[in-house]
């Protein structure tokens, strides 16, 4: 399975931890595309820095549009008002880090 890596930045009124981020992204994918759709996404939060809100989400290359739409649809994380911005997408972690730090 080819994979894609999405650099994301969490903007929230309160701090968000990795579990809450994972939960929010999974919930958004499931709400928009259902359990069957979510099962095809191959979604994993592989990095997340709670201090600056930056993280990396991995998914299947075919699921990038689904994941981008799902992430953009998030308005709350664990009941707190929040937004997640997708900073960019890359085929390798190395290239992602090079471009988005």
């Amino acid at each position: 399975m080819r994979r894609r890596y999405l650099a994301v930045r969490v903007e929230s009124e309160a701090s968000v931890n990795r579990e809450e981020l994972t939960d929010a992204v999974w919930r958004a994918v499931t709400q928009l595309f259902g359990e069957y759709g979510a099962s095809q996404v191959g979604l994993v939060v592989i990095e997340y820095d709670e201090q600056n809100g930056r993280g990396v989400v991995r998914c299947s290359h075919k699921a990038v549009p689904m994941v981008k739409a799902s992430i953009a649809s998030i308005t709350k994380i664990d009941g707190k008002s929040a937004a997640i911005r997708v900073l960019g997408v890359s085929g390798t972690l190395k290239a992602l880090h090079k471009r988005y730090g």
Partner: protein
């Protein structure tokens, strides 16, 4: 994407009573890549408020377009509103809450944006007849993303279904579409590529969505500024020189 195109969000709805929040929203829009924002103003907005807004926008190098959202109950009320307000605002949006208002708005060349706020299919009047009227005038179909972000479950599914149908009709009749945030807070703002991803949920092709965020809003504002200019006579005709030197005899 951002390097080659300028993006415009024609529908910001910040609370004008809280200028700090307005400032944050405009700054966030600029940070997300927008170079043009349309801010909804009340019909009696003072010049002072408009000047304050212009200053806030200029600080972050964003172009401000003043906008009014008309929500008439009947078509003659819409005509009255257009007579009163068209020349005072750079953008005029009509919130279509009845079929007669929707039809009048679609054929009136003073209307820039047609807005359908309800997620109830029977309350949305953008059908083939509406699109045909709009295609002969200048109105664009406005798609606000805020309801898509705020609704959940069955209601969001219903809204997506309506948007899918309306976008397909608009494209069929070559009615321009504008994608806007409709945001009342920073949390509802998204960058252009996020809007493109969200637009894919109602089957809007990414190139069309990019146009709806860039070329279309800029074209509307450019056209209206030209019309509001004192030199405007008619489309394609404008005064280029005034004074004694122009007299033939």
């Amino acid at each position: 994407m951002t390097a080659t195109r300028g993006f415009g969000d024609l529908h910001l709805r910040p609370p004008l009573s809280d200028m700090e929040r307005v400032k944050r929203m405009v700054a966030k829009s600029a940070e997300l890549g927008f170079r043009l924002v349309g801010v909804t103003l009340p019909y009696n907005a003072s010049l002072e408020v408009v000047e304050k807004l212009r200053k806030i926008c200029a600080e972050v190098d964003v172009d401000l377009a003043t906008r009014i959202d008309l929500a008439p109950k009947a078509s003659n009320e819409l005509l009255d509103d257009l007579r009163r307000f068209r020349r005072r605002f750079e953008l005029v949006s009509v919130v279509c809450t009845s079929k007669s208002v929707a039809r009048q708005a679609a054929k009136d060349r003073r209307v820039d944006l047609l807005s359908f706020p309800s997620s109830e299919r029977r309350q949305r009047f953008f059908d083939r007849a509406e699109a045909e009227l709009a295609s002969g005038a200048l109105a664009s179909l406005e798609v606000d993303m805020a309801p898509l972000l705020l609704l959940e479950g069955f209601q969001r599914a219903r809204l997506l279904s309506c948007l899918r149908r309306e976008v397909a009709i608009a494209e069929g009749f070559k009615v321009p579409i504008t994608v806007c945030s409709g945001a009342t807070s920073e949390q509802l703002l998204r960058n252009p590529s996020d809007f493109v991803a969200l637009a894919s949920l109602f089957d809007m092709a990414s190139e069309r969505a990019l146009e709806a965020l860039s070329e279309v809003p800029f074209a509307i504002v450019r056209r209206n500024r030209e019309k509001l200019s004192p030199d405007f006579v008619a489309p394609g005709i404008r005064v280029v020189r005034r004074g004694d030197c122009c007299r033939s005899g």
